[in-house]
């Protein structure tokens, strides 16, 4: 039996932030980034199940969905869209300064991002509160005047599940960012090693992208009527 020719390779040097099983930081970074992206792909499909169900029911009950959508607060929704896209900008800038190794700017922009995130959740909470007062919460107490009560409830089920799941992701995102901010403040990152900031950023931007689709689907159905 022949054993294939092997070039003896010594184990690589362990530099800061390099895990034992990777050869170098570049490999580690490629793995981390691909892993995060694959996770985001699973998130696409996770929300995707809801989008598919939404698509089917909206196609079946266009009129009811339009009427129910008019109950969604367009002003608050639009403000929230702006807030969230703003937080994406600050997040991108945080990553930008991480690339440059500017510790203070990284922490500042991470905090700004979280503040905008909290603002988003606050506005969302106010919207939920209004819906609750209007008895638009699905379940036995649901009230919707007009001919489309049944299917309007279906719309609100999707409204609450989709925005609720999105808000849950925001909360997780804020948790991630605060961890990263603390570590950044302690000086754990450098212009060589800032992958955690970047990966948390990817997650945050993804949550923004989901909202970019939720906004027209939930708030902007046939607003001309």
């Amino acid at each position: 039996m022949t054993i294939p020719v092997r070039r003896e390779q010594p184990l690589p040097d362990r530099s800061a932030g390099l895990a034992h099983h990777f050869d170098d930081l570049e490999q580690q970074h490629a793995a981390g980034s691909l892993g995060m992206w694959l996770f985001l792909v699973t998130e696409i499909l996770f929300f995707g199940g809801l989008f598919a169900a939404y698509a089917i029911y909206r196609w079946q009950y266009p009129a009811a969905f339009a009427v129910a959508s008019h109950e969604a607060d367009l002003v608050m929704g639009t403000i929230n869209t702006i807030v969230l896209i703003g937080s994406s900008l600050t997040m991108a800038l945080a990553v930008h300064y991480a690339q440059l190794g500017n510790r203070k700017a990284v922490v500042a922009f991470l905090i700004l991002t979280m503040v905008l995130g909290v603002a988003f959740l606050g506005i969302k909470g106010a919207e939920y509160h209004h819906k609750y007062l209007d008895n638009h919460f699905p379940g036995p107490d649901f009230v919707f005047p007009g001919p489309y009560a049944q299917q309007a409830e279906l719309f609100f089920i999707f409204y609450f599940i989709m925005t609720g799941l999105h808000a849950l992701h925001m909360v997780i995102g804020i948790g991630l960012l605060s961890t990263v901010a603390v570590l950044a403040w302690r000086g754990c990152y450098s212009s060589e090693h800032f992958a955690p900031v970047e990966l948390a950023g990817l997650y945050w931007h993804f949550v923004d992208v989901v909202w970019i689709f939720l906004f027209p689907l939930l708030y902007l159905i046939d607003r001309h009527k």
Binding site: Y61, P62, A63, A64, P147, Y148, Q150, Q151
Partner: protein
């Protein structure tokens, strides 16, 4: 128990023979391929076992010709199966003209059957030979499935909508009726018998058990008792559209869509009247949800269908 070991259910409907023929074709293809693979594996395994003189394998990496061959041949065969199976399926999807209808309501765990003549049965279905029978089915609770192996037909029965299936019995006898979709505790007890009778005998059976009032008549009574007739006047001009000859026609809705007024449309319009408003009318009709049972809904449907027949006979 070991006395007989049947391999096929009886053929008691017009499609059973066709389905079996296709089945035999598939069994033949599957058999040929299984035997081919099995004997090749056996032969190679013995012929090329490791032994003095065969201590090393030949170096063969592949063959494009073979790969193409065993891609194209299975593809071709499966396309034949697809074509044959689909033609038969499409044929069975369309109800032949001249079929008569029987109404089925499923609930945990029984089959409630109404004949248009008014006769009712539970877990039993009597049908004559030689005539296509169409079943209009719905469920009061969960999903069930109406399955008669001897007819080679099966159709899920769903809550909230009508599904239908048809068969033409060819041989008199007593055949199993099963619920094939798992529906809870007594799922396996939710079965019964389909009795196929010669037409003359069937007539005798019908007249023997008849309550005297047909489904359409009962439906007409309901139509008046529920006050439907005050708006849906037969001569038109009421607050609701006339329902004369409605079934099977295209209806123009105020949303601009057009839908065919089938049984499901009638059902939805009674239970959720404002979902689809006929063009030119106001959404005034109240819902009858909770006031009419699934069986009564079917009686109303039967009544509306009878209106159509009446209209036809007057125009002819």
């Amino acid at each position: 128990m070991w006395s007989e070991l049947p391999l096929f259910p009886e053929q008691a409907s017009s499609v059973a023979g066709r389905v079996d023929l296709l089945y035999f074709f598939l069994v033949a293809v599957a058999g040929i391929f299984s035997v081919l693979i099995f004997s090749l594996v056996f032969f190679f395994a013995i012929r090329y076992r490791r032994r003095p003189g065969n201590m090393a394998a030949a170096r063969i990496h592949g063959s494009t010709v073979l790969e193409v061959l065993w891609t194209v041949i299975p593809l071709g065969l499966t396309m034949v199966m697809f074509g044959w199976g689909s033609l038969l399926f499409l044929r069975n999807a369309r109800t032949p003209p001249g079929s008569f209808e029987i109404y089925v309501v499923a609930k945990q765990w029984m089959w409630k059957i109404q004949h248009p003549e008014g006769l009712r049965e539970i877990n039993e279905l009597h049908v004559p030979t030689g005539m296509p029978v169409r079943l209009v089915m719905t469920s009061e609770d969960v999903i069930h499935s109406f399955y008669v192996p001897a007819f080679r037909v099966k159709q899920d029965v769903l809550p909230g909508r009508y599904t239908s299936m048809w068969f033409q019995p060819t041989r008199a006898g007593k055949y199993h009726l099963f619920c094939a979709e798992y529906c809870g505790n007594q799922h396996s007890a939710m079965g019964g018998w389909v009795y196929v009778m010669e037409p003359a005998e069937y007539e005798k059976w019908l007249s023997g058990g008849s309550t005297g009032e047909s489904m359409a008549t009962t439906g007409q009574g309901l139509f008046e008792r529920l006050g439907c007739s005050s708006c849906h006047r037969s001569e038109g001009g009421g607050r609701g559209p006339s329902l004369e000859g409605l079934l099977g026609k295209k209806v123009q809705l105020d949303s601009g869509q057009a839908v065919v007024a089938d049984e499901s449309y009638i059902r939805e319009s009674i239970l959720n009247p404002r979902a689809k408003i006929v063009g030119g009318y106001q959404p005034l009709m109240p819902t009858f949800q909770g006031q009419v049972s699934e069986e009564q809904l079917l009686q109303l449907v039967a009544y509306l269908k009878s209106l159509k027949k009446a209209e036809r006979s007057t125009t002819q």
